[in-house]
Amino acid sequence: MKMLSIRINDIPLQVPEGTTILDAAKAVNVKIPTLCHMNLKDFGIVNQSASCRVCVVEVEGRAPLAPACSELCTDGMVIRTDNLRAISARRTAVELLLSNHPFDCLLCPKNLECELQALAQELGIREIRYAGEKMDHPKDTSSYALVKDPNKCVMCRRCETMCNTVQTCGILSAVNRGFNVFVGPAFNLDMVDTSCTFCGQCVAVCPTAALTEVNNTDKVWDHLADPKKHVVVQVAPAVRVAIGEEFGMDPGTITTGKLVSALRALHFDAIFDTDFGADLTIMEEASELIHRIQNGGVLPMLTSCCPAWVKFFEHQFPDMLDIPSTCKSPQIMLGAIIKTYYAEKMGLKPEDIVVVSVMPCLAKKAEAARPELTKDDNNNVDIVITTRELALMLKEAGVNFAGLPESQFDHLLGESTGASVIFGTTGGVIEAAVRTAYDWITGETLEKVDFQQLRGLEGIRSATVKVGDMNLRIGIAHGLGNARKLLEDIRDGISQFDAIEIMACPGGCIGGGGQPYHHGDMDIIKKRQAAIYQEDRGKVLRKSHDNPYIKQLYDEYLGKPNSHKAHELLHTHYIPKEKI
């Protein structure tokens, strides 16, 4: 590789050809502020619109300043990032952005999480010299999942990169021109009328509050305060390895015990684990897979835990609705069991029970509102809040999360196995399914439960797992763009698999749209993933079908997996939807 000699702020250095000024500066510990730039290298995601001009630097011998994020180094380049000209230009860029930005920072959902606010602080901006017109677009609050406030958009285009390049959903695009430009869907449609999957990756990368989640915390508070309501909470696996970050703990800290104590401090009536729902999902899904294999059913079978993925294939592959598993997702399964089995056991009326889910995900909010996922007009899950919203509630209540003791989930629907914990990461659902399918198909007991070949962060992975006499061909994709490729290959007969796991978000649920903002640092996602596998290793039981409370649920209530009752409560169907 050709090396280039350059100087940054009088520091001489050598960089490989193709290096941007920004990356070169990082190598010698020179910080250049950025706003629109985003580079999630491990996922191959780069947003290089160079639209904000916040990273401009001076390059000797050329008149205009250069955007460091996209300008490549050339041999002999002499760069200054620290002189008055560069600093003034950056300040001007931020001032101009602020001149057309609402000043309601104190009331803004992104207060203290906003990258524009942080920049204004870092650049010492105390007044804005440019007074001008402000945008006045209506807010889009049409969906259950996300809120779009175009007036806070800085046109960084990160959301467009996620929506178009990474997820290939193509919902968001810059529309209009000049002062009236903003990011939105086709024909100014409401988000709810588009084929948006509500994966929330646009929210995860938005530097401001132009895209945020629908905040349901007030609803939860109201129900907690209502003595007539029995408020049950469930927590998804990925939440326990991320929520600590909201309280200053290191990424990848396992906080399961503290999380349960925290929920107890908020006075939920029962604290259950979505992991139990995941174990239940495996019982149904592994049975369905074996049934399809042994009876010549449709293969591959696709997992159906991820609601963004479900909505994606309904819009994008409406001709292939027979291949996903009919299993509801773990949160919805657990909700259904709470409203029936648990209600009966406790002598409660389903309408007096409120099920709150804490999810790493925005699509789970939309999923809970799907009309077919109700039972006798009762929602299976009533309210979904994200990891971030739970952290907010705990802060409001003054709960000192880091200092809490460890405690256990409540009985009946609180016990879980290692198989269910790994639902939180890409590759985890299918590994959990294999652990159970292996025992059931061979009639033996699988000793080595760790399937390294199914793990990792590569976008599309495939592996063959030997199960008795048969080779189970497994495909895995995370990120909807990767899912699309995999599905197109199946449709075109290029790839042949028996089972496929898809998760919409990069890394799976650990990188979900409702998780603490990772601000582009991929090491955080990796640490969360490592924590998930560590939690799995620490469990006594590692296979879903070994969960004694799952066995009890089938013995007392459901009968066998895929029984009539199980179908009624735990399975669903899919609806072809328009692509727009």
Binding site: C169, G170, I171, L172, S173, V175, N176, A186, K579
Partner: protein
């Protein structure tokens, strides 16, 4: 959405559009010329036509809408038989074209961008059309009128109305 596909000759127009799309080498890159063709055939680009193009080319509707909303040449509203383009470029502006625009607006009873209810006129503001020597300039369809004053407005409108009367 308007029901453009149920209009007379819509099928034939779509066939022409489909054939045009087929002629393009790289369909995605040809989006702008395809939109021009669609507008030429149908007169304007309502959302259902944009959606048709997006599905035909397999590109997101939001992208198509982004392009259509970016270029002022593309119209998403049904246009009148005669489009009155009032040049708001610098030279025309200095020569007082704003008053001319007001006069058109008052006499037709529509704002810039709007169309008269009889379907005859659409009033539009455009940027420089490159005839600055004739400023202020008004273009009605492809005919250019120079040195237009407020006094000319009534005559221009009535001339076109009269022409319409004699046509029918």
């Amino acid at each position: 959405m308007s029901d453009i596909f149920s209009l007379e000759h819509a099928d034939e127009k779509l066939k022409v559009l489909d054939a045009f799309i087929k002629e393009q080498n790289a369909e995605e890159e040809a989006l702008i010329s395809i939109l021009h063709k669609a507008q030429e055939l149908f007169g304007y680009l309502p959302s259902e036509l944009q959606l048709y193009v997006s599905r035909k080319l397999n590109i997101p509707a939001a992208k198509v809408y982004g392009v259509v909303s970016f270029y002022s040449y593309f119209s998403q509203e049904k246009r009148g038989k005669y489009t009155i383009n009032v040049c708001m470029g610098t030279a025309c502006f200095v020569k007082g074209v704003e008053k001319v625009m007001h006069e058109f607006s008052d006499q037709l009873g529509v704002k810039p961008g709007g169309s008269t209810s009889d379907g005859l006129f659409t009033l539009k503001d455009v940027r420089c059309i490159g005839a600055c020597g004739l400023a202020p300039v008004v273009m009605i369809n492809d005919k250019v009128f120079g040195h237009v004053t407020t006094h000319d407005v009534a005559r221009l409108i009535s001339d076109y109305r009269a022409q319409e009367g004699s046509d029918s």
